[in-house]
């Protein structure tokens, strides 16, 4: 049984419950990491070690899995996220221009977060919303038929030095 994390952070308790629900089965690692990322926003080393301990897995295995899958992030994300879908349908309909606009406005490259931690600019392989391409996901909410103008509209207030 895992004892709760010495920091007393309640989120570790929730993580304990998740691991327990899966019977501390080692094959539940991906599910547990999903929960951990939900709770903490990203997977810091301390959390990975905690999971390794809980599931009795070598830390190398947990780290290996966390770094293999694209959806797990080992770095903190910004307050807002903007995910540009780069699927084929979106690509054909000009997703690269949307990304250029975003990168230009936020002064960061795809995969990065602005220094003020306000916005993360990300790309996705395909969000499966090809019927409404090009699509961008703003804070988990997908929007279709995007243009550089609508992208700028959504960014309002998300950047300190961006459009207002």
């Amino acid at each position: 049984m895992t004892a709760t994390h010495p920091s007393g952070d309640k989120r570790f308790k929730v993580l304990d419950v998740t691991m327990k629900r899966h019977g501390f089965q080692q094959d539940a690692l991906i599910e547990v990491l999903h929960k951990a990322q939900d709770l903490f926003g990203y997977l810091e080393m301390d959390v990975l070690l905690y999971v390794a301990h809980g599931l009795k897995l070598p830390p190398s295995r947990v780290y290996g899995v966390a770094t293999f899958y694209h959806l797990f992030s080992l770095k903190p994300q910004g307050q807002h996220t903007c995910v540009v879908c780069m699927g084929t349908a979106c690509f054909v309909k000009g997703a690269s221009q949307l990304l250029e606009v975003l990168e230009g406005e936020a002064h960061v490259k795809a995969g990065e977060t602005t220094p003020d931690k306000k916005l993360s600019v990300l790309t996705a392989r395909c969000i499966g919303a090809c019927g409404i391409a090009p699509a961008v996901v703003y804070d988990q909410i997908p929007a279709g038929h995007q243009t550089p103008e609508t992208v700028m509209d959504h960014l309002k207030g998300w950047l300190t030095d961006g459009p207002r």
């Binding site: 293999f68 694209h70 392989r125 019927g131 909410i141």
Partner: protein, 529 residues
């Protein structure tokens, strides 16, 4: 519950249903076009008009014409409306009762986009509320499973699937009956059934729609498969990018367990089938069966050499049946309507229908289900309405493992063999239309970048080869390459194709090879002389 109780449940539900319904599409496309807002406005308008007892506002799955969302369809008239706005709600509600005209634009259901479709897999999509088991039951849900359990032995089920001619809908087209027979014959005691819902091809969203619009159908297909091969545990592996599909499947599993059509002692027989959902974490390679199995086991999703095939040694070393979402979704109908009925649809070697997501530079984007053997021209020009204000240049099928088919070959029928002959593949069903403005070398580079990022890194030809091919393509796009570079690119393509460990690497060169084959002048004009 036994069959009579289940049918009674369906009857009660049918009787309690108000005569008129407003079906609101809640699939991804319509939802991101404010489908939820439209639904709420409609519910409010119905309440405001005091018609709550007569009209039901209902969430349904995909109504197909995704590009024109939000879509709303009325019962009993069947009229469909597109681009509905919340302010259209009162006019629409008046229309249901037959004493109103106007409101949002009406969809012409006599358009080939709809009339050319033959829904089997999508039979209930847009017709039923995916979150209610009773709705699926009113559409003959779980009757095929009952039929299998009580009137057929496992070998009969395998034989029926074989006779239907169904082939794997994940892309490769392996005969489903043969796969089932192999797993069924294996003497292993513990066996598993896996549903591959890791739809990673960019430009494809068929499986997503099936899982979101009709989750019970997939589960019923899996349960029948489990009975046929002798498995008691199943997993649905879904990409984490599809949270709605995950939620609906989980809900459906709970409902199925509740009435005893899933779980233990199904329909009161000794047959048990427990299903769990496993969520991916964003790795394209997990669509490959051995990588997917590793991922279900909680490991890095890396493929391993085959043989042994999963049918002999799969999940935790046990014989494992692994099929695609659409394959399982075909099963209940095949058993209900008969293998011969199914085998009469399609071409000689490709039976049944195929669901495609028609997207890109085409007037009507959305989901279509057509009989195998329908020509690309019918799909793209008749149903899709062609390129708005332009001409079709190519159609891309099969995602990063497929190829680009030029406009001259649009009369090709869609079946496994014909597409392979053209250097593309059927794939899972993404169909992206490209117009004259699309640069084919850029397209090849786009797919190579995809494969380079998604290569799991286990085998060298794929890990290093994709990087080198991407560099060469970039060099060509930047007009810095010479004839020798193009030759080297082609050589590399052959090498990667022949020596990679899994399907990802083996098919990664396809987009390059097919664009070189059909659009060589585009490459040549970019070369340095």
């Amino acid at each position: 519950m036994d069959r009579a109780e289940l049918l009674a449940l369906a009857d009660r539900h049918r009787a309690a249903r108000p005569p008129c319904r407003i079906r609101c599409c809640m699939a991804a496309g319509c939802q991101s076009a404010n489908g939820e807002g439209v639904k709420q406005a409609l519910a409010k308008a119905v309440q405001g008009a005091g018609l709550s007892k007569e009209i039901e506002v209902q969430d349904v799955g995909c109504l197909r014409w995704c590009g024109a969302g939000p879509l709303v369809q009325l019962d009993p008239s069947g009229a469909m409306y597109r681009n509905v706005r919340p302010e259209d709600a009162p006019a629409l509600v008046a229309t249901v009762k037959g004493d109103g005209e106007g409101g949002p634009a009406r969809v012409d259901l006599q358009h080939p986009f709809f009339t050319r479709q033959l829904p089997i897999v999508l039979e209930n999509s847009g017709q039923i509320d995916p979150e209610r088991l009773e709705e699926y039951l009113t559409a003959d849900g779980y009757q095929a499973l009952y039929h299998a359990l009580f009137e057929m032995n496992p070998a009969d089920v395998v034989a029926a699937v074989t006779r239907s001619g169904l082939r794997g809908r994940g892309g490769a087209g392996y005969p489903t009956g043969l796969k089932w027979a192999t797993v069924a014959k294996n003497p292993g005691k513990t066996k598993y059934v896996i549903c591959n819902g890791d739809e990673g091809d960019p430009g494809a969203f068929m499986d997503r729609s099936v899982m979101e619009s009709d989750p019970h159908r997939v589960l019923e297909g899996m349960a029948i498969a489990a009975y046929a091969v002798g498995a008691a545990q199943g997993f649905v592996y879904v990409r984490a990018e599809y949270p709605l599909a995950v939620a609906r499947l989980n809900k459906a599993i709970q409902q199925g367990n509740g009435v005893g059509v899933l779980g233990t002692q199904i329909f009161g027989t000794p047959f048990n089938f427990r299903v769990d959902v496993r969520i991916g974490a964003g790795a394209f390679v997990c669509g490959e069966e051995t990588a997917l199995i590793a991922s279900v086991e909680g490991k890095r999703g890396q493929p391993r050499p085959r043989p042994p095939y999963p049918a002999e040694s799969g999940l935790w070393g046990a014989p494992t049946l692994i099929n695609n979402v659409e394959t399982y979704a075909n099963i209940p109908t095949i058993l209900r309507k008969g293998a011969d009925w199914y085998a009469a649809i399609g071409t000689e070697k490709s039976k049944g229908t195929k669901v495609f997501s028609l997207t890109g530079k085409v007037a009507n984007t959305g989901l279509i289900e057509v009989p195998m053997g329908t020509t690309l021209r019918t799909i793209v020009e008749e149903m899709g309405g062609g390129v708005p204000g332009g001409r079709v240049k190519a159609v891309q099928t099969g995602g990063p493992s497929g190829g680009c088919i030029p406009a001259e070959l649009l009369d090709t029928p869609v079946d496994y063999e014909s597409l392979t002959k053209l250097g593309s593949i059927m794939g899972s069903g993404g169909m992206i239309v490209m117009d004259q403005a699309t640069n084919m070398v850029e397209v090849a580079r786009f797919f190579m970048e995809f494969c380079m990022d998604e290569s799991c890194g286990k085998c060298i030809p794929c890990r290093a080869g994709t990087v080198q091919m991407y560099r060469l393509l970039t060099k060509i796009v930047r007009r810095e390459a010479g004839v020798a570079d193009l030759e080297q690119l082609q050589k590399l393509c052959q090498m990667v194709r022949e020596t990679s460990l899994c399907g990802l690497g083996q098919t990664a060169p396809n987009p390059v090879l097919s664009t070189i084959r059909y659009f060589l002048p585009e490459y040549q004009t970019l070369l340095r002389t």
